[in-house]
């Protein structure tokens, strides 16, 4: 199935990546060529095949609910894109 410009804009909205019209057109072309190539999977009948979700066959392990890194707030906040001492700053969310 072909991916049109409207779909590209919709996906970019879902992916939270803004694209301008020029970029969207380029993506439309790229995605169509990639998906045309991907379509070959439809040659295979997979009705009776179980999907493989993980290679690791082990069950997920439980761990102790224990704090391993303490007092690293300042270090963590150093990577924050907006300068502040005590918390992360974001644009106003609630009016």
């Amino acid at each position: 199935m072909a991916i049109d410009l409207k779909t590209v804009k919709h996906i970019s909205k879902l992916a939270r990546i803004s694209v301008n019209d020029e970029k969207a057109k380029k993506l439309e072309k790229d995605l169509n060529s990639i998906f045309k190539w991907i379509e070959q999977l439809n040659e295979l009948n997979t009705d009776k095949v179980e999907p493989l979700t993980s290679i690791a066959e082990t069950k997920l392990r439980l761990r102790k609910d224990k704090i391993l890194s303490e007092n690293i707030r300042d270090e963590i906040l150093k990577n924050s894109p907006k300068d502040n001492k005590d918390y992360f700053v974001v644009p106003k969310v609630v009016e």
Binding site: I3, T7, V8, I11, S12, L14, A15, R16, I17, S18, V19, L27, D30, L31, S33, I34, W37, I38, Q40, L41, N42, L44, T46, V49, E50, P51, L52, T53, S54, I55, A56, T58, L60, R61, R63, S69, I72, E75, I76, K78, N79, S80, P81, K82, F88, V90, P91, K92, V93
Partner: protein, 485 residues
């Protein structure tokens, strides 16, 4: 004594242990050579001064029991290093300084190794030529217009140019084996669950594995032994008794059955690769192994499957880059606008393309047609391998369908770039171990590799086969120091 940087990893280790060379001498030699090699653009972050200090520290109270005593290492910039900038070659992480250490690098330091710096790679490991890096493409030491492969391109280039005695990469669809093949070096992708993923910037979590990149098979076995460990911090790390790959290395492969999959003879593959493959079979027979023709019927479907599964996982993994707690932030009119602008400015074209593919195949109405379909085909691909491994001990294939290509040659056509990983991707989908070793040169004198694929957790076996073949192949390849300034 010959030049320090000409010695292989295991030779360096032996020389340190027998007190013939100090850590400082080795570190100094690599720092000096690295400083003269900016033209290759392998380093993103240099920690040379610290490395020299740490080598002195090592020499002052040397622990010669360690497996990598005072040996300097430059590593792919996808491994988080505490207090040292880790960018994944992306603008969005340009200034990110991790507060923790990846388990793999911690294993290296615990074994006595010293960090030299962080190496360039494709952005978020998405690429096969190291051309998607925000910090510019890496040049192969083989020629000034040649790509080193990718995504561990900086690692492969630095290794081949002797800027580090050995290095580590990550491999999601071929990112260790393809650049190893392109640069005439050895690269191993371990079984999924062998090496911890903790602290590695995530790309596609069901496929990602870290692995060693070295100048020869012996070094590879030593480095794998240091890297592989059970790690409770990685929920998919497998708890099994890890053998001593280094001391266990031997050339006795008599009676081993090696499969040759007919589907790996693809259209348009250069004759030289076919010839090398034939030669590889002869070498194995000389070593007493038995060649068995096999079929992996779903091979052709591996790449399209990969290009659904990997972008789907990537789109989910990369959702964390929102400009809130770390990384780049672009100002916006409101929160959503900030997210969209941050991600638009922070990610490069290939990363955006893959996030878009992943978002599309996971979106409402398309999940069954694409993602579920791909997971089912992935099962068929794994079944192919399960079936043949009832009959053979390992599989021999070419590593790549071509030798290294020129900078810019494939960067405008995503699908032709993706086809580069045709022989490596099935191994990731099935979670198997695979090693690429240099096997010869093509008509341009560019290296070509052969790949040995093993059963799950049978790394010792593929290392032994590679070790036996390496002796027979006797690959000699001298790279001229044209880039040194």
């Amino acid at each position: 004594m010959s030049n320090i940087t000409d010695l292989s990893l295991n030779e360096l280790v032996n020389n340190v242990k027998s007190k013939k060379i100090s850590s400082k001498e080795i570190t100094k030699a690599y720092v000096e050579r690295s400083k003269k090699s900016n033209k290759l653009n392998t380093y993103i972050e240099r920690t040379f001064d610290n490395a020299l200090k740490n080598s002195e520290k090592f020499d002052n109270s040397p622990n010669l029991e360690k497996k990598l005593p005072g040996i300097p290492f430059a590593v792919k910039d996808l491994f988080c290093t505490k207090g040292v900038k880790t960018t994944a070659s992306s603008k969005i992480l340009e200034n990110f300084i991790p507060t923790y250490e990846s388990t793999i690098t911690q294993n290296l330091w615990d074994a006595g190794a010293i960090l030299l710096g962080k190496l360039n790679c494709d952005e978020f490991a998405m690429g096969s030529s190291n051309e998607t890096s925000y910090f510019g493409n890496v040049i192969s030491p083989i020629s000034d217009n040649l790509v080193p492969g990718g995504s561990s391109g900086g690692s492969a280039s630095a290794l081949a140019a002797k800027l580090t005695p050995a290095t580590i990469g990550t491999d999601t669809g071929g990112s260790i084996r393809q650049p190893a093949s392109f640069t005439g070096t050895v690269g191993l992708k371990p079984t999924y669950g062998s090496c911890s993923r903790y602290g590695i910037v995530a790309f596609a979590s069901s496929l990602d594995q870290a692995g060693p990149m070295t100048r020869n098979v012996k070094d590879c076995s030593l480095l794998l032994e240091v890297m592989s460990s059970f790690d409770p911090k990685d929920s998919t790390s497998v708890d099994f008794k890890r053998p001593n790959y280094y001391t266990g290395l031997n050339k006795n492969i008599k009676g081993k059955k090696i499969g040759i999959p007919k589907e790996y003879r693809v259209d348009g593959m250069p004759k030289e690769i076919d010839k090398l493959w034939e030669k590889g079979k002869e070498y194995l027979k000389d070593c007493g192994a038995e060649i068995v023709d096999i079929s992996l019927p779903h091979t052709n479907y591996a790449l399209p499957t990969y290009y659904i599964v990997a972008p789907a996982e990537a789109s989910s993994n990369l959702a964390r880059y929102d400009g809130v707690k770390y990384g780049l932030r672009a100002d916006g009119e409101n929160l959503i606008d900030m997210y969209e602008k941050t991600r638009s400015q922070g990610f490069g074209e290939e990363v955006k393309r893959r996030i878009m593919i992943g978002t599309y195949v996971l979106s409402s109405g398309y999940y069954d047609a694409y993602y579920l379909k791909a997971q089912k085909v992935r099962k068929l691909i794994k079944n192919d391998f399960d079936d043949v491994f009832k009959k053979v001990d390992a599989i021999l294939t070419p590593s790549t369908p071509s030798s290294a290509f020129k900078v810019g040659e494939k960067s405008n056509d995503p699908v032709s770039m993706y086809l580069n990983d045709i022989f490596t991707v099935p191994v990731n989908l099935a979670g198997l171990p695979g090693i690429s070793i240099p096997a010869g040169l093509d008509k341009n004198n560019y290296p070509l590799g052969l790949q040995i694929i093993g059963k799950p957790f049978d790394e010792q076996n593929i290392l032994n086969i590679a070790y036996s073949m390496e002796e027979k192949i006797n690959f000699k390849f001298n790279i001229k120091d044209w880039w040194i300034k």
